[in-house]
Amino acid sequence: MPEPTSNGMQCNEFDALLADAIDGVLSGAQLDRFQAHARTCAACGPLLADAEAGRSWMKELSQIEPPVGLVESILASTTGIASDRLLSPVRPSQAQVSWLERSRAWLASTIDPFWATVRQPRFAMSFGMAFFTLSVALSVAGVKPTDLRQVSLRPSAIRRTYYSTHARVVRYYDNIRFVYELQARVRELKRDVSPVQPGSDKAPAKEKERKNDTTQEPEQKQERNYSQTENAVVLASAPLGPSVNDLPVVSVTTYRRLV
């Protein structure tokens, strides 16, 4: 320790060393200077204490086990071949047995304000148009309810969908583009619901196509952050990612028609 008394450390240097200090990898003169700064600086001392405490709190969190059937359901939605052999009875049966009942009960409690809007004649026209188109598109696309095995029908998922649908509907109800959006979504849906073609990854031609498609750009090239504004929802051309979450749009809204 050449100069144990010198303490020329600035707060920003302290901050840069803080993570290493908590990891216990500082040593020698550097550690001494770090500790001296922590003792004397009114801002950095408490920061060190808090950061250490925070790390201890994080250690209270243990790894949790994924739900039963997750692996099987992943395999079913990717390779598809596992669906009959492996698919766990847990999730699908839960979803299929009484989803109609549960949805009915749940919808009854949340749909009222929405329904009031829907009853307005002008809105109802557009809405009806949209779902007529959707039904046609669905049958043309050959989507059957049983194809929607992966659809999440849990109240939380439906709730989420309800709000996102609601928001879009209100924004675009008098615009024909809405219909195109739904059609685009149905196409997305069909692509997402049907298992990925085995071996599609190795076909070079398809690979090139995907490369031109920005939604499939390699992850590495996309800068993403949480604050990026996303209010400008592009409609028919919207590259909605592989979105299992979006699936309930169809089942929920179709159901509303039956109510």
């Binding site: 901050d15 405490a53 709190w57 992850e219």
Partner: protein, 199 residues
Amino acid sequence: MEDVQVVAMLVRRCISGDAAAWEEIVRTYNRRIYNICYRFAGSGDDAQDLTQEVFIKMYRTLSTYDSSKGAFSTWVTTITRNLLVDHFRKTKQDRLTDSIDSTASEHEDALPLSEQIQDQSAPPDAHVRSREVSQTVHSALGKLSPELREAVILRDLQDMDYREIAAVLKVPEGTVKSRINRGRAELARLLQRTYRQVM
């Protein structure tokens, strides 16, 4: 952590259409991905959906993985993280609507931390107590800004090193460290406030 050659071989087998190899990848990584999603998104339902999405994305883009550019686990974590960013932005609209919606959510997450703790009077044993602490920390973690939350999760729960985290988040290592520091400190302050109120 991972055997580079074993993983590279697995990936090659997958790309050539070997379903068993893919199944092995799914079995190896689903727990890790599920945990990241669960801790970040907060709910088990969302974590399940997101994990599924991550694997669909992985399956489609497996051939773009380049082992010379980094570990497979880093690649997997990057996909996971990017989907979490998308999920966060997508659900922001929902959360805005939710906060306007006066009907209170049925989720216990909606309660302030202090109320959650007050509910948990006299824990019967250490196991239950540790589960309650864990639940409280989990709730507090959800209150961190997403940038701090993800950094802390990758470091303290996934034990990734700073270089790997920097690669996943695409920010310099110094920024990673700073976010981890601030995230931990913020978490501690949230929990200190909570426990001080109760005790």
